[in-house]
Amino acid sequence: MFEAQSSLVLHDEEFSSIASVIEKLLQESNSKAIFLVDKDGQLISSVGETGDLDTTSLASLTAGNIAATGGLAKLIGEKEFSILFHEGEKDNLHLSLIASRVILVVIFDNRSSLGLVRLRVKKWGEELERIFCTLEKKARQNSDSPKSFFAEITDEDIDNLFK
């Protein structure tokens, strides 16, 4: 039995602390680009050389990859595989699970190394884990707050989208 998770809601404050953590990770690990992706395939944040990349597809395929590997883990009696590494001719992908909820994707080439990336991901991953745990706590506290932005959406707003 899996547990149903609530919506992920991100405000400016958390968004900028996440962005600053992955920026530091990018510098310290000498990597090309870093993505933070929700386990359901939605891109949360990215830094580095992301210009030529189809980031939406990358996010969805990363989540598919992690989901498939998670399924394999369960088959052999593991809870999950928290780190995945894909080696290419020039570029490599390092995927790690943060707080069992988000996926940290690091793309790096020969300017860095797997060892360095693993070391830095461990350090900054813990920082990200803290941010996401706080976020979840906050979401739980706010879940029953009656006043909210989306409650103000009118039926007309929704209809207008489909005109």
Binding site: M1, L10, F15, D40, D54, A151, D159, L161
Partner: protein
């Protein structure tokens, strides 16, 4: 599970097209992809076998426009319909915000539809979701074929709760956008009710 990003002012929602093998889930996405303006869609990804059967999923990101200054983005997924891909099918349902069940209207596929719908409910329950609680619509596809069951018969069998239902012929696009709009609308109404 919706993702609301106040920093970039975006709402992201996930729609899954479910149904028996060869019912036309991928065709629905292909038609939507063909008929959507380039700036409103991303690349369509199909993880398929050499014979073009879906192996893991198809994925199509769509932007519908803004609502109260928030960009609404829909991520459309299909599942592999063939019975033996159940493990992969279950994975795609994780975090789903809305479901489209694509039924194959051909009389000989009646049992396959029922089996797939039961499988959908079982797989959702494993995640702690209930189909009755999710935005959900049904599409009766392949209405142009000669050997189809009547709409009444299909509806009685597959739609006892009377959720919105549409007849379709996906390659020609009939009913494709009506189905998508109906589920998307329910999802936004749901978001409004949940009140973030």
């Amino acid at each position: 599970m919706s993702f609301i990003n106040y920093a970039s002012r975006e709402i992201n929602l996930k729609i899954v097209y479910y149904g028996p093998g060869l019912c036309g889930k991928t065709t629905n996405l292909q038609y939507i992809y063909q008929r959507t303006a380039p700036d409103a869609k991303g690349k369509m990804i199909s993880l398929a076998t050499e014979t073009e059967r879906t192996l893991f999923f198809d994925f199509l990101p769509l932007s519908l426009g803004e609502i109260k200054g928030f960009k609404t983005r829909f991520h459309l997924y299909t599942v592999p319909g063939q019975v033996f891909y159940d493990a992969s099918r279950k994975l795609i349902l994780k975090g789903v915000d809305g479901v489209v069940f694509v039924a194959d209207s051909q009389a000989e596929r009646l049992d396959a539809n029922v089996e797939s719908l039961e499988n959908l409910q079982d797989n959702l329950e494993e995640y702690g979701y209930k189909l009755e609680k999710l935005p959900y619509v049904i599409q009766y596809n392949k209405r142009d074929l000669p050997n189809v069951s009547s709409m009444d018969e299909l509806s009685k069998l597959l739609n006892p709760r009377g959720v919105p239902e549409f007849s379709a012929c996906a390659p020609k696009g009939e009913g494709v956008f009506d189905t998508l709009k109906a589920v998307a609308k329910q999802m936004l109404v749901n978001l409004k009710k949940s009140g973030h």
